[in-house]
């Protein structure tokens, strides 16, 4: 669906509707509450919102009527932590990602657990195979005190296969519906690690990983210190060094029907997370990363300090409609694949997620 979208923010969930080229806010749910992630209606019509209440913890709410009415469902919970289990506490900190496929819903969390629900969120089960990987002890937080799963990229034609992206824990792939997992971040390089550890795939910080549905062997990631691409289903990753302005950023989107077209939103660097020269820009490649165009038409070009976080950029199934939301409440839309943009708001709450559907 390209005429409805959802904006999950620090202070509520906003439903957007599009008429022609104009988007407007049609409804607000959970006003005042932090909504860390939203799952648009699945094939069954169910949608989920993950709340992260400041005092009372993570909660999951479900709607079966497109966000008009909501009811609380079960929150994923970690099992009892054995006394000998060192490292991060087995306590849910945040739901950072949610995806659905064939009636199954997956939730990626801080501190690094992946949960599965086969009943629309009424019950959840921790994926023990990934959680008990000894390599997990090496993961660490990226932007948070604990590691987390921010990207869940199901394979569109192989239902047993899925990739998850972890900050900071690289990229992990299952090809047997979660029974076993393989670390597949070879080729990425971590500039923030000691030199002899820079190529350790298990400590990479892919800020966001997306898969092209039409050509699922192609994956793109905006990494902490660069852009990487895989054309062999994450067996290997190649750095893309041609992006203008900066290769630092958080968000990435790929055209659902054209694996060579992807969008990125550069920031200055990890130590200065603002647009280059105070001017918001989107970098787009249409040739698989050989070259990029920098798109600015309609975006603020003076004294702009908006940061587009991991889930703040989204492309609709048509590959033309784009939405982009910032951590300081700016929201922009494009109907021409990023050539031009329209400001929808300059003063929403901090935006965590924008999604069509």
């Amino acid at each position: 669906m390209t005429d409805r979208a959802w904006v999950a923010t620090r202070k509520g969930l906003f439903e957007l509707r599009r008429k022609g080229s104009d988007w407007s806010i049609a409804n607000v749910s959970f006003l005042g509450e932090p909504v860390s992630m939203v799952l648009p209606p699945t094939s069954s019509g169910r949608m989920l919102a993950a709340l992260n209440l400041g005092h009372f913890g993570v909660k999951v709410h479900a709607s079966d009527d497109g966000g008009v009415n909501w009811h609380e469902v079960t929150t994923p919970a970690y099992p009892q932590q054995p006394p000998e289990a060192t490292g991060v506490a087995w306590k849910l900190v945040q739901i950072w990602s949610m995806e659905s496929r064939n009636g199954t819903i997956w939730a990626g969390t801080l501190p690094g657990g992946l949960f599965r629900s086969d009943d629309g969120g009424s019950s959840w089960k921790l994926n023990e195979a990934l959680w008990h990987k000894p390599e997990r002890a090496e993961w660490f937080g990226g932007g948070y005190d604990v590691p987390g799963i921010h990207s869940i990229a199901a394979h569109p034609t192989r239902p047993e296969e899925m990739l998850v992206g972890i900050s900071c824990g690289g990229a992990w792939v299952t090809k047997d519906d979660g029974a076993t997992w393989t670390l597949q971040a070879s080729g990425m390089r971590a500039a923030y690690m000691p030199p002899d550890q820079a190529e350790n795939p298990n400590t990479q910080d892919p800020h966001r990983i997306v898969r092209c549905p039409a050509k699922p062997d192609v994956l793109w990631t905006q990494h902490h210190n660069g852009i990487w691409k895989s054309v062999d289903d994450a067996v290997s990753w190649q750095e893309v060094t041609t992006s203008p302005l900066s290769s630092f950023g958080f968000a990435v989107a790929v055209d659902p029907s054209d694996a060579d077209t992807a969008w990125f939103v550069p920031g200055v660097a990890d130590q200065q997370r603002v647009p280059v020269n105070g001017a918001l820009a989107v970098n787009r490649t249409r040739d698989g990363g050989k070259s990029f165009e920098t798109l600015r038409n309609g975006l603020p070009q003076f004294a702009c300090y908006d940061l587009i976080y991991r889930h703040g950029l989204s492309v609709a199934p048509d590959g033309r409609q784009l939405l982009m939301g910032s951590t300081t409440g700016g929201l922009w839309a494009s109907g021409d694949a990023g050539d031009s943009w329209t400001t929808l708001s300059n003063h929403l709450p901090p935006i965590y997620t924008v999604r069509f559907g």
């Binding site: 209440l53 400041g54 005092h55 009372f56 913890g57 609380e72 970690y78 087995w90 306590k91």
Partner: protein
């Protein structure tokens, strides 16, 4: 009639779930909380985390004093004790 400890919850919780006033003959904080969860099972996840510890930004006052044991919740309750479960201002 036996004196009972009384549990009351912050009204801020009412926008999420029911917060009954519960009188209980429990003698520890954890047992008293369990009595309230028996009235409304949904309350548990708002007050305790995955490991059954008091949430970091929830505070419990027992007869005017903050509870001290956030893990095992073994603070004793008096038979006519007054227990308030509140949001801590550190959170939110």
């Amino acid at each position: 009639m036996v004196n009972m400890a009384r549990f009351e919850f912050t009204p801020q919780l009412r926008r999420f779930t029911e917060t009954p006033v519960v009188d209980t003959d429990a003698t520890t904080l954890r047992a008293g909380l369990e009595a309230t969860f028996a009235k409304n099972p949904r309350l548990r996840g708002y007050v305790l985390d995955d490991q059954g510890h008091l949430r970091a930004n929830v505070v419990v006052f027992i007869d005017g004093r903050r509870s001290t044991d956030r893990v095992s919740l073994n603070d004793p309750l008096r038979a006519d004790g007054k227990v308030y479960v509140l949001q801590a201002l550190s959170g939110g």
